[in-house]
Amino acid sequence: MKRHDKMIKRLIGASALAAGLCGTPALAEELRFTVWTGSEAHLSMLNGIAASYTEKNPDVTVRFETIPFADYVQKITLQLAGGNPPDLGWLLESSAPTFVDAAVLADVSETLKSTEGYDFDDLSQGAMGLWQDGDAVYGVPFSTSPFIVYYNASLYDAAGLEHPDALAAKGEWTWERLKQDAAALADAEAGVWGFQSVDGQGYGGRAVHTLIPMVRSHGGDAWADGTCGWASDEAVEAVSLYHDMIFKDHSAVPPGEQGDFFTGNAALTVTQLSRVSKLKDAAFDWGIAPLPSGPAGEASVIGQAAIVAFAQGKQTDLAADFMAHMTSAENVAIMAEFFPPARNSVLEGEAFLTSNAAVSPEQMKIVANGIANGAVAPGHVAYPQIESAMRPKFDALWKPDADVKAVLEDVCAAIEPLL
């Protein structure tokens, strides 16, 4: 039967080849590495790291392949299921438990621990949490990046408002204050909004990342220990604040609209350090500030992403070796320009503060503080299912007359069985 299979396979495969229509076959020594950034600055940095690896291993090349963030997990899964896995890839914290649990990631602990000069213990234990299971290591975080506020300084100055970082230094930078500023700075005539959600995706793929900083600073959380927290009074208060910004103040970019901070169409946004690359040609002055505090004080939220090797890949040892190269102290310091590192030695060094020419040491301090005090965004083994269960429920929030408490109770009812 097996032979039979093979013959049919060959026959059909051969006729396909004969037609000369197959995709280009991969080189034996090419590593395919999937990422979700399309930024030229990021890619040239990554290619630089790959080049230094090729220098040491002349017959190995690394090809970075961009998959847009919104489809990333799905496309990777499709490639894994289709028997066409990338060798390495980035993976977000929310997907970590799912992928580790599904046993599709390669255990790279041996390679990392045996690589000379790697210094495995330098990796921050807190950051490694999601990516370790006993002795097995399934990934190394390359970005432990706190969510921070970006503000359009030109708009702030024109309106004569005090900058958020100055307010933060005085302890007056609160979500209430952000709400007021956004309302004051929104200018419908000029096409300028007050506040943009995380990457403008706050009503879709980044709803959790958009809401969690608000919710945690009010003392709530998405879920913990199998209990849903969205319907808590704290969370309701936080989400109501955002709801008011959209539908009462008309200051936050509403669903279905687009007002991008990075093109000057929104005065404030919350996102991560890596988006600095989008400000290279910005026609306005900008600054960064910590997340505002809420009734429960400051609550820094960290989005984490790791480099993983896929167990199905045909060259897992090589992939692990490249991973060791990429997350060596030297290269982590290079990547720190956009991706705050998980290596204690780099994070604590002075060099980190000056790693990005566009970001001042003071601003980089904000990032470093965010990492030191932050907690990682919510994750779960069943995250894909939880997200799909939450999405239609969250949709009900984005209406002017939505009953926030009732909607969030619906969210909880939908995800509680999955937690």
Binding site: I12, Q74, T77, L78, L80, A81, T98, F99, A102, A103, V104, G191, Y203, G204, P254, P255, G256, E257, Q258, P384, Q385, S388, R391, P392, K393, D395, A396, W398, K399
Partner: protein
């Protein structure tokens, strides 16, 4: 040549059978491999619990069907959405197609230009059409709402409002496909002999009476074809949903074809998605047969 001398020559019938099967063999083999095989396989898949990510599958009997029909309330939402989509799209599409066809079946100055215009979306990629309409239907700043504002209407956030999203998707889909049905109706209208109408006119029938008593019954075969094509077309709608609403808001536009894709390739539930595919298959068979039977009954009377 030698062979034919030894063996009795093939009869014409046998030779025809050989040549016939030779001619149909490419499509038959391909059809068996890429259509019939998968159709059988999907039935098998639907009896398993199969995770696309872990690639593990176990026999699950009728569990997936029980999930769909009983345990998972989402399925009924999806089925309802699919039927609402069809029930909204089919009459709207056919009425508009017939209206346009009646208007454009007789020559007048510029008739070709108008036909060309109404048919243009048919040759345009559905993806392009859906993308451009998504752009037109943006909340406040979208072109559609700006136009409505000119005449004093405060348009809703079309694709984000649970009550309007379905409507918007249906209407844009009608614009995309109505040209095809219009052409089919025009062809049918033009094949109706003018004498019939003229005779009726001489008898003193009004335009509406001519249409109702003569034209419409003569169009019945075309109407059946169009109806079957349009109903099935509405059940397989995927790209419009994928690009315009992704099934949202509040699952308001989650239709079966998209739900199958989502379950299989986004949430990795291969077995459940296969069961949904089987249900879609049955639904299409059922609807097609019903329509043909209904029409035949109508035709006999």
């Amino acid at each position: 040549m030698k062979d034919t001398a030894i063996r009795p020559p093939l009869t014409l019938r046998t030779r025809d059978a050989l040549v016939g099967w030779l001619f149909v063999s490419p499509i038959t083999i391909g059809f068996l491999i890429f259509f019939v095989g998968p159709l059988v396989a999907v039935l098998g898949y639907s009896l398993t619990e199969w995770n696309l990510l872990t690639q593990q599958s176990t026999f699950a009997g009728m569990d997936n069907y029980a999930d769909a029909l009983g345990r998972n309330p989402e399925f009924w939402t999806v089925l309802r959405n699919s039927l609402v989509f069809a029930a909204g799209l089919v009459p709207l599409n056919m009425a508009l197609a017939l209206t346009l066809a009646v208007a454009l079946s007789r020559p007048f100055k510029g008739v070709v230009i108008f036909r060309t215009i109404f048919f243009a979306p048919v040759v345009t990629a559905a993806v392009a059409w859906a993308i451009v309409w998504t752009f037109l239907l943006q909340g406040e700043s979208g072109a559609v709402n700006q136009m409505l504002a000119l005449i004093g209407i405060d348009g809703p956030n079309w694709l984000r409002h649970p009550d309007w999203a379905m409507f918007a998707v249906i209407v844009t889909r009608v614009f995309k496909t109505v040209g095809l049905n219009m052409i089919l109706y025009i062809a049918a209208l033009q094949s109706i002999p003018r004498d019939y109408e003229e005779a009726a006119r001489l008898e003193g029938a009004s335009g509406w009476q001519v249409f109702r008593l003569i034209t419409w019954p003569l169009l019945a075969p075309t109407t059946l074809v169009i109806m079957v094509i349009t109903v099935v077309g509405s059940l397989k709608v995927f790209d419009h949903i994928y690009l315009m609403t992704e099934g949202g808001p509040e699952n308001g536009t989650l239709v079966l074809a998209f739900y199958i894709y989502e379950q299989a390739f986004e949430f990795f539930n291969v077995g459940y998605a296969a069961a949904l595919a089987v249900i879609l298959f049955l639904l299409i068979v059922l609807l097609t047969i019903t329509q043909v039977i209904l029409k035949q009954r109508g035709g006999e009377r």
